[in-house]
């Protein structure tokens, strides 16, 4: 035995690694299922492909019945959006291959993206984009569709040349404003027809290298269904829809207001549209873009809000308005008579 060697010390030394693993309470190469480990290489279910399960700030609503702008769908070759009261049948052989993104925190919607279907045999290709700008939230300096179209034509990128200046027109019997521009380099043309519905500027953007194709696309739009309120400087709701009023949630129209308290996400813009019932209570809430914790906090606050009933022609009517919660760092659109009362 070497000098100084202790049998006890030898045993302790040998057992140290075991003690260390004892604290881990599992063999290192065979961890139990859970966390980052799984012994199941033939799981019954898989994470679905192409489905967004983990969302950031996203759109949601207080109920699933009330139509929302982003609720438009292309089915049986017809685009219909119950919120806007639009029904439009694209040309035969055209369809929506991909849906658009969710509403943005600046109030931008992609309602439909229509293009020739796979197998299309037409001589030239093109596309139809149907979008909406929520005029309560758009950061562009415009308060109605006409002002928005005016701004767009005056601020075209240097890549484009204006082909047709802003021109009043009618599509399907309803007033629109129309303009066109093109890219000399790309040889692509864009024809834009804009109207306003429920305080949203709704745009139909047809694009192609072939102007005859675009013209035929626009002519085909003459058969679409639009609500009676549609108009570039009209479109303030009413009829079957609530009247829409910008910045209606102000002290002069309210009797009770409680601010939501954000505890987790605090720095994003949270645009919210609400419908106020005839008695002054919030009956529907649409979050254009909110994290779930924010939606809950806002919902908790809005249930306590009370408005004075809005009277039109001697009768209380429902009102739709927008409130920007959270941080809205962008320049706000100036208020104008067209969308305020």
């Amino acid at each position: 035995m070497p000098v100084g060697f202790s049998p006890l010390a030898g045993v302790l030394a040998l057992s140290m690694p075991l003690l260390a693993w004892g604290q881990n309470a599992r063999p290192p190469q065979n961890p139990e299922n859970g966390g980052d480990f799984s012994s199941n290489v033939q799981p019954l279910t898989k994470v679905p492909e192409g489905v967004i399960l983990v969302k950031g700030a996203w759109s949601s609503a207080s109920d699933s019945v009330t139509p929302m702008p982003e609720g438009g769908r292309v089915t049986n070759n017809v685009f219909s959006d119950p919120y806007f009261g639009i029904s439009y049948a694209p040309p035969s052989g055209w369809t929506q291959k991909f849906e658009g993104p969710p509403p943005s925190d600046s109030g931008r919607y992609v309602l439909a993206q229509i293009r020739p279907a796979d197998g299309y045999t037409g001589a030239t290709r093109g596309s139809i984009l149907i979008t909406a700008h929520d005029m309560f939230f758009t950061p562009l300096p415009a308060s109605n569709a006409l002002q928005l179209a005016t701004y767009m034509t005056k601020n075209l990128s240097a890549d484009y040349k204006l082909e047709e200046p802003l021109t009043p027109t009618k599509i399907a019997g309803r007033p629109f404003t129309f303009y066109a521009y093109w890219s000399p380099v790309a040889q692509l043309h864009w024809y834009v027809a804009t109207t306003q519905i429920r305080c949203h500027a709704v745009e139909f953007v047809a694009s192609s290298r072939d102007t005859k194709l675009i013209e035929s696309l626009l002519l085909g739009m003459d058969k679409m269904t639009l609500p009676a309120e549609a108009g570039p400087s009209a479109g303030l709701g009413g009829g079957a829809a609530p009247v829409c009023i910008k910045d209606y949630a102000s002290d002069k129209n309210m009797t009770t207001r409680v601010e939501p308290i954000f505890t987790d996400h605090k720095f994003n813009a949270v645009p919210v549209r609400i419908i106020i019932d005839k008695k002054g209570k919030v009956k529907h809430t649409h979050f254009l873009s909110a994290f779930p914790d924010q939606a809950k906090a806002i919902t908790d606050a809005l249930t306590q809000w009370r408005f004075k009933p809005y009277i039109r022609d001697g009768q209380p009517v429902e009102v739709e308005t927008g409130i920007m919660f959270g941080r809205a760092p962008r320049p706000r659109a100036p208020a104008a008579n067209a969308a305020t009362e």
């Binding site: 299922n33 799984s38 279910t45």
Partner: protein, 468 residues
């Protein structure tokens, strides 16, 4: 014998076919040669702020150091890691870039770097250098639990069996089970050339650029990922989840190499080890023997050497110049300047530049070096995060960015990148462009515009991109 008439028609068909081939658009591929990428900013080379060049060189040197677990010149690696040196991942086309053609990770398992580990299926000899993430935790029966988001990095390698790691022995994450459950996604390294310019863009510049781009008829409307502490715009990483180059460095040192530091002060277990309160076994802690954090300042040193590694890395990234543009060779022939110029104009005209903004603005005055002051940032990015659709979504949320939201990837240096998109799924530019469209993508209309170009125009655009 073919009759004359028939011969003529056959020849015509051949000619048409060849013409079609000539105009079929092709990614010119990774451009060779030395474009001068990887050097310091010009004012740094002049050492305009005395000592700044020493900072750059010191950072460059440390960026290439190979880390050991213990007993070496640079200690602290592990217990889990993806690689053992910054430059092993940030390598192409120069130190500071992105993944190289030969993936160094492929040689780790079974070698002295990771002797007890296996090479997982997604690490290949000539594939992208990668990190892996599990979007969801596994539950107790071993299947992915889609109600339990994970999303953290699952380090590929462990120090198990290394001669400098004592008896620490750890299992690798369950990569094969994750593949079976479709519960694994990948990321490749982002290049850092010109990163100091991006860092020095004032928030107001980015916000003004965003406001300017709202007037598009493309359905594009991005937002910013914001720092959870102060609400300002964060800007580094695939989802713009990191506010500054210091945080970017500190996180990478900790997550990718397992080295605790002044910003991330503990050894990092896997997300599930943390969630299940396992942590590391004690014999895998303080493997360097020097205590925590494993990377710290060096008060006894002089000059740049006094800095901690994270600060040195950040200095290097902050002061390295953007990748220069260069000529493009396609099928052995140099592409004409006209083609590249036309491609640039097309890039803007069809809407690519709405997000991949050639110059989102100029920097604010810098307190570091002249080249970072009032300089245009030709990054081809708006630094916003955009919805890129289900086709690119990875079910990983970082900061305010959801699973389909990605920072507009800066395109400067694209001409010499090999692997494209956040996970390196393709090496082909055309495929990368086409991946921009899927359900829920803001880029669908722009991609459609690209499809509406003729082949010659598309070729010009690809040529332009490889000139960057």
């Amino acid at each position: 014998m073919i009759k004359k008439g028939r011969l003529a028609s056959v020849l015509t068909l051949v000619a048409l076919f060849l013409a079609g081939t000539a105009f079929a658009q092709t990614d010119p591929g990774v451009q060779g040669g030395n474009r001068g990428t990887g050097v310091a900013l010009s004012s740094v080379l002049r050492d305009d702020n005395p000592g700044i060049l020493a900072f750059f060189n010191d950072g460059l040197s440390r960026f290439q150091e190979v880390e050991s677990v213990s007993g070496g010149a640079n200690n602290g690696l592990g217990p889990r890691f993806n690689s053992n040196s910054c430059s092993s991942c940030h390598a192409q086309p120069a130190v500071g870039g992105t993944g190289a053609a030969v993936n160094p990770q492929f040689a780790f398992a079974g070698s002295s770097v990771a002797p007890k580990d296996a090479t997982p299926f997604f690490i290949t000899a000539n594939g992208p250098t990668r990190e892996a993430r599990f979007p969801f935790f596994f539950n107790s029966n071993g299947s992915a639990n889609t109600n339990a988001p994970n999303g953290g990095v699952e380090d590929v390698f462990t120090v198990s069996g290394r001669s400098d790691a004592g008896v620490c022995s750890l299992p690798q994450p369950s990569f094969n089970a994750a593949r079976s459950a479709n519960n694994i996604i990948f990321r490749i390294p982002t290049p850092v050339f010109g990163a100091g310019l991006i860092e020095n863009l004032d928030d107001s510049t980015l916000l003004n650029n965003q406001a300017k781009n709202f007037n598009n008829n493309l359905g594009i409307s991005g937002t910013f990922n914001r720092n959870g502490n102060d609400g300002t715009i964060s800007r580094f990483g695939w989802k713009a989840q990191n506010k500054s180059l210091h945080i970017f460095s500190g996180e990478a040192y900790n997550v990718e190499m397992g080295i605790s530091n002044l910003l991330f002060t503990q050894d990092r277990p896997l997300p599930g080890e943390d969630q299940m309160q396992r942590g590391f076994p004690v014999n895998c802690l303080n493997l360097s023997g020097g205590g925590y954090p494993e990377d710290a300042n060096n008060p006894g040193s002089q000059g740049a050497a006094v800095l901690d590694d994270v600060s040195a890395f950040a200095n290097f990234m902050r002061t390295i110049a953007p990748a220069p543009t260069g000529p493009v060779v396609l099928n052995g022939n140099t592409v004409s300047a006209t083609s590249i110029s036309n491609g640039s104009a097309l890039f803007s005209s069809i809407g690519c530049a709405t997000c991949h903004n050639p110059t989102p603005g100029s920097t604010q005055k810098s307190n570091i070096t002249g080249s970072l002051s009032n300089a245009p940032v030709n990054a081809f990015s708006d630094i916003e995060v955009h919805h890129m659709g289900a086709g690119l979504a990875d079910n990983v949320s970082q900061g305010g960015a959801g699973s389909d939201q990605f920072r507009t990837a800066p395109l400067w240096g694209l001409g010499q990148r090999i692997f494209l998109l956040h996970d390196g799924r393709t090496t082909d530019l055309l495929s990368a462009i086409q991946s921009h469209e899927s359900n829920g993508s803001e880029a669908n209309t722009v991609e459609q515009n690209f499809d509406n170009l003729n082949s010659s125009q598309q070729q010009d655009l690809l040529n332009f991109l490889r000139s960057l």
